[in-house]
Amino acid sequence: MSAALLEGADVDHAHVRRLSLRLLRSLLRPVAGPAWGTVALVVAAQVAPVAGPALVAVAIDRGLPAMRDGDPVPLLLAAGGYLVAAVLGGALTAAVVRAAARVSQAILLDLRRRVFRHTQLLSLEFHERYTSGRIISRQTSDLDAVRELLDGGITTLASSALAMVLTAASLLLLDWPSGVVLLIAVVPGVLLTRWFQARSQAQYRKQRTAAARLIVRFVETMTGIRAVQAFRRERPVAAEYGRLSEEYRGASAEGIRLNGLFDSGLTLIGNVTVAAVLLVGGLRVLDGGLEVGVLAAAVLYAKRFFSPLTQIGMFYNSFQSATAALEKLAELLAEEPSVPEPARPIRLPSPRGDVRLAGVEFGYGDGPSVLPRLDLHVPAGQSVALVGETGAGKSTVAKLLARFYDVRSGAVLIDDVDVRDIAPQDLRRALVMVTQEAYLFSGSIAANIALGRPDATRAEIEAAAQSVGLHPLVEQMPQGYDTEVDKRGVRLSAGQRQLVSFARAFLADPALLVLDEATSSLDVPGEQLVQRGLGTLLAGRTSVVIAHRLSTVMGADRVLVVDGGRVVEDGSPSALIAAGGRFAELHAEWRRSLR
């Protein structure tokens, strides 16, 4: 499924916009108190400077004559008042800066957490479809767009709107016909805003999509930089990135252009209105219907009415940009996990590790059935190896056990409880899956092992490392267990990374261990060490092992040969070898390869 298809234009925009506004409201609700407090501070900060001109008037009208009479008190009072207003104004401005940052950062933190938590909840199916780059772009560049709105948004909107309302009210009180002229100007203003809204919405959606594409390409290239360099793809990859950058630039530039038109349009409307107020008022003065002084004031008010409009235009622009980003985030948050948490979870306090697949039918997405119908029982304590060709469905069985996916029909049962009903934390404690892909997170070696059980002590971590043969390797590292592993653990070889995965599994100490090609990159001695360790750990535990290496398989109690999603052979390794079926063939081939 391509990104273009997912980001297609046939999405219901109205629905998405509703989703995004609902998200915005739900983000604002918890900070409603501080947000209103900030608005109040903004209002106060607007009012404080107004006192200034009045005090100047007082100083000149009253202080000056009094001073000439030798009485400095009124002047000192006025100047003192001015000083107080100055300090108060500064203090309020400073308070607004802090309060606004607190509100906006609280919202951002909330949003970040929500998106992160939700992506963790979503199933692998979603992750495979959505791609990592797009999830990353949601959590970085889309959040940046929201942040831009929050940074200047509240204060700008509050102060500008307040100023405009106050000015309009004053003008109406002063001279209502001039006020009416002003209000008529609101009509083209609204029309212009509607035009801008419609056009910029589409534009900012495009910009968000372009940004996501850019990020997807970036992430994919940097993740695969070795292959890019080894196969000399630098030039084509750079050309493609350049094309996407230009697409993003075009989308941003178009957004800025629209905003520029909107901005200039608002200025134009404002200035024309001022001229109109002057013309109408001036003619009325000639008729004697208006005092000259009132006209002067009316014209100044009209001028003042439109001056915050630029600010509001800027706010509206970042609002549009942030809404487009919020739409993307809201869509992500609206994704339902296809592996939902149980409504009435059943606890599994002391799991035995009995596994049963009852009439399981499964396929990926809408794809064909991978497991047409599988029945399988692994009694607690048994170690089972799944053998078969690539694509036979072995890994699928493992993923169903770990509930990475849910079955289409039938059920996967652990201790006779459907995995879909088991409390997630209990399922993860009962069952751990080690995969071929041994991902390391940035942080120390110890922290990476502790992923198996975060509350483990250093001694337990070392013991786990010891039992898989990782300990001597770690001891050689410059800071031992505190050595930081680099991005994607590149400085550890694939085999060493698999050892870390095993150490995690040891630490987790589950009742049921699923190993999916977990030893493929280990050398033979390393694999033996791991197996010996596993032998100790797994004594009395259930294990399901998928391996191509027969050396891994031979130690199992029972071998299942899988083909086309069905079990075609089932028995102990020696029995199967004796029976002379497929497993016997594989075994013979393996023996030949050892010579």
Binding site: R257, G282, K487, D523
Partner: protein, 626 residues
């Protein structure tokens, strides 16, 4: 992070490298912007003139219409200038951003793998996106507004000095602490601004890891812990941002309160002067009217300064990566690779040493003097324990890493003397972790084939042939066959399937030298046997170095070299080494002397049933007690 002692002005000047072509338009935008601001200042004066002039004295409708027309004309001009500002700065602003972005990307493509090993993806991504966005906004808005505000303030103060010089002087003296506070603010804010951007980059890294490592997190049910870690980092970022706001609020207070406080003094002084008949009341009024105009830009300076410092931090972070010297670059005077001999190319490793950059000084080199010859056309397997440096050695040939001592020679030429593109055309690699891109199967296989060097029909045949050798017949069963999009944005394949496509890709490149890094580890035994048989037939004439863990992979090779403690301790045929070389036997079968003092597993030794004598009499190895 290196501590920069550059001034912000100097730092911003480095932006010139990219901004130079845009400068005339940015300047024009600034002029338009300044014009619009000054015009906005002029309109009230015109209004006053109009009201005081025609309306009070003449009273003819024509004069009123004329006056309104003048105001209208000025208003339209202002709107035009506002539009001009946008139009002038719009294109260059976004173009500079794009240029910087593609330059960064180009640089990252150039920088060696060792660089990418050290730099977390999120840090690079945040530089490419949010840092450059910040720089663009500053260039298009911050810089222009800073100039306009500063100019307005200077002009305004000039006017104030002209109207009432004593009061103007007081205002200037009062401004001195503001400058000092501004300087202090710069020092404080610079550090937090940088910290906030770095933390945002770390957060992006955590996001990236949580997404790339989602399977591990799910397998261990650690989503909750990952969320906690993430939330902690996000909380750190939040407190840094709050700290930033606190610092900014201090300067906002100073810029808001100090000039006004000075005006309070001016007010007292001005009235006193007027009372003493040393100044006029009219001048006093004019002084305060101008001061009111100046205050806006002065207050704005705080925000603009903060924006400038944010942009500076972003630019620093960007420059840091873009200016990273490339340790694995092209030679100044590249040599051409000679034509290979009829039987193929020869690869020689002469006293090769390698250590990872940043490895602690006391640690030993990963490769500690490797001497090895791969004869023309032969397939040589490289066998050693996990972590012995096999993969590192393999990656030295196409210069994904560079040797830290000695040399790798391809047909007698040091690989460092050859242009990287030419070298990598001659050497193809199949990696242990197969890396596929979001593209069709066909495109993935043809990744190392130059488009112009091959006809479409030949390319098609090549893809088929390569996939056939890699036993990747499964591609025909994919929904769109060779056109099926695979990789992140496409169909997910199993590990074994990905490995086979990566192998087909290396084969399709038809290199002189093929480097296979444990290329079959995820294949099942039957498929592995099939691939091995076909590979052996195909590789005749292609010099091949294959990293192996398993006897089944070794079966590919004509000869085997044993890598032990950073050196080659044995070269020979598999059966000979198995018989004579204790460490080799140990690596491939886990039998024989064990450097980690763990006895071999009984169950398995019984199963192996080797024809070769199972030896216990291996020589003691120096690295055994590592």
């Amino acid at each position: 992070m290196p501590i920069e002692r550059l001034s912000t002005t100097r730092a911003m000047a480095r932006l010139l490298r990219w901004a130079r072509p845009a400068l005339p338009r940015i300047a024009a935008g600034g002029v338009a912007s300044l014009g619009a601001s000054l015009l906005a200042l002029a309109v009230p004066q015109v209004l006053r003139e109009v009201v005081n002039g025609p309306l009070l004295t003449e009273g003819s409708p024509g004069a009123v219409v004329q006056a309104a027309g003048l105001v209208l004309a000025l208003g339209v001009l202002e709107a035009l200038l506002v539009w001009c500002r946008r139009a002038f700065i719009l294109t260059p602003g976004t173009t500079v951003e794009r240029e910087m972005r593609t330059d960064l990307f180009g640089r990252l493509l150039e920088l060696p793998v060792a660089f990418h090993d050290r730099w977390p993806g999120g840090q690079l991504l945040s530089r490419a996106m949010s840092d450059l966005g910040m720089v663009r906004r500053w260039l298009a808005f911050g810089l222009v507004m800073l100039v306009v505000s500063a100019t307005t303030a200077v002009v305004g103060v000039g006017l104030m000095l002209a109207t009432a010089w004593q009061l103007g002087l007081v205002y200037l003296v009062g401004a001195a602490p503001v400058v000092w506070l501004g300087f202090r603010f710069r020092e404080d804010y610079k550090a937090v601004a940088r910290q906030a951007r770095d933390q945002a980059g770390d957060l992006a890294t955590t996001v990236e890891e949580s997404v790339h490592g989602i399977r591990v997190l799910k397998a261990f049910g650690r989503g909750g812990d990952a969320l906690e870690d993430f939330a902690r980092q996000a909380e750190d970022l939040r407190s840094t941002e709050i700290h930033k706001a606190r610092t900014l609020s201090r300067v906002s207070f100073a810029l808001g309160a100090l000039p006004e406080a000075v005006l309070a003094v001016s007010l007292g002084l001005g009235v006193w002067l007027a009372a003493e008949d040393a100044g006029s009341v009219g001048a006093l009024g004019a002084f305060f009217a101008t001061a009111a105009v100046v205050n806006g830009p002065v207050e704005r300076l705080g925000q603009l300064l903060a924006m400038t410092l944010d942009a500076r931090a972003a630019l620093d972070r960007y420059i840091e990566v873009v200016d990273t010297p490339n340790a694995v670059g092209d030679p100044a005077a590249p040599r051409a690779l000679p034509e290979p001999a009829a039987r193929g190319s020869r690869v020689v490793l002469a006293d090769v040493r390698f250590r990872h950059p940043g490895a602690p000084p006391q640690s030993r080199d990963v490769l500690d003097g490797v001497d090895l010859e791969v004869e023309p056309g032969e397939t040589l397997a490289l066998v050693g324990l996990t972590g012995s440096g096999k993969s590192a050695l393999a990656q030295l040939v196409p210069r994904l890493y560079d040797v830290t001592g000695g040399a790798v020679l391809l047909d007698g030429v040091d690989v460092r003397d050859v242009e990287r593109a030419e070298l990598r055309r001659a050497v193809a690699v199949a990696f242990e972790d197969p890396i596929l891109f979001s593209a069709s199967v066909r495109e993935n296989v043809l990744l190392g084939v130059d488009d112009d060097a091959i006809s479409p029909e030949a390319a098609e045949a090549l893809v088929r042939e390569s996939l056939d050798v890699a036993s990747a017949g499964f591609v025909d069963a994919l929904p769109h066959g060779l056109d099926t999009v695979i990789g992140e944005e496409g169909l997910s394949l199993s590990g074994g399937q990905r490995q086979r496509i990566a192998l087909a890709r290396a084969i399709a490149a038809r290199p002189r030298v093929l480097v296979l890094d444990d290329p079959l580890s995820a294949l099942d035994v039957a498929t592995e046997a099939a691939v091995t048989a076909r590979l052996r037939a195909t590789l005749t004439g292609t010099t091949t170095l294959v990293v192996a863990h398993r006897p089944s992979t070794v079966a590919l090779a004509d000869r085997v070299a044993v890598l032990e403690d950073g050196r080659i301790t044995g070269v020979g045929r598999h059966s000979d080494l198995l018989a004579r070389h204790a460490h080799y036997r140990y690596v491939l079968t886990a039998l024989g002397p064990d450097p980690r003092e763990v006895p071999p597993q009984d169950s398995l030794s019984g199963l192996l049933d080797l024809d070769e004598p199972v030896g216990g009499a291996g020589r003691s190895r120096p690295g055994a007690e590592r």
